[in-house]
Subunit: 160 residues, 2 copies
């Protein structure tokens, strides 16, 4: 199970402290996907989609931990009940808005990843498969902490 980078994600965020913890808290921050040119043909027909999932490698995430205190809470939770980056496989998943496609470059908004993050996949956002507005979200629904931007708690390079 070996991954290859298919491109790089460009964002305004150079380090974890101050980076939005999710795209909805980014104040519509703009970014770009620079897809490797050999994959550009795979972007055909993507322009009709409002949003895409980006699957990426969180290359500057802290080592995996099974219990973490998430940004939006005040106590420890199991890592698989959070979206925190210090996961056994540091794979990130974000839904971003597509604002333009030109050759191998995609302009995006609502970015929450660090500049230079290696891209693994782009998948179209399809509400029929992906949208469950009424789904219960456990501890998150209790809204114990209103933090919207990262601090340094999950910083540091992954040991892989």
């Amino acid at each position: 199970m070996k991954l290859k980078s298919i491109g790089v994600i460009r964002t305004p965020f150079k380090e974890q402290p101050g980076t939005p913890i999710q795209g909805i808290y980014s104040e519509e921050a703009e970014g770009k996907i620079e897809l490797l040119p050999e994959y550009a043909d795979g972007l055909q027909d993507l322009a009709g989609f409002d949003r895409v999932w980006l699957v990426y490698w969180m290359d500057r995430a802290a080592k995996a931990k099974l219990k973490v205190t998430p940004y939006r809470d005040t106590q420890e939770r199991g890592i698989f009940a959070t979206r925190a980056p210090s996961r056994p496989n540091p794979i990130g998943l974000s839904c971003v808005r597509v604002t333009g496609i030109s050759g191998n470059v995609i302009s995006i908004r609502d970015v929450d990843m660090l500049d230079g993050t290696p891209l693994l996949d782009i998948k179209p956002y399809m509400p029929e498969f992906d949208s469950y507005p009424e789904s219960k979200a456990g501890w998150f629904d209790e809204r114990r902490a209103e933090r919207t931007h990262a601090d340094g708690r999950f910083s540091g390079r992954v040991d892989t």
Copy 2:
């Protein structure tokens, strides 16, 4: 960027032909996640969530192709505008319902992956970050093909 399997996904589906192409077409098919025991502590607090994202390695997907004819359409589309499995990195993403957690085993419904698929990550489904019911979905919105179960077009082992 090396992945490790954190467990295995058990489903009723042994081969691609006849497997639902997405969980919503599975008629609530039941499955299980057998997480490796050393990761079980990471499941704490997950029980309060209705749904999770499974991130997995599509170990029996066909080789990557940049243009494919998706199950739900009648003409070729760029791979990044589809959810077809023959991607440069064969990473699958499915939203499944959680029906029970016991130790390192999670009971799930709405499964659309092959039995024995290596699991890479579990992320809680959070409507605030993940649900965009009005998002436009390009060619998919035109509903040219109503196929809901796979045939053999993306079968075959990935060359990695």
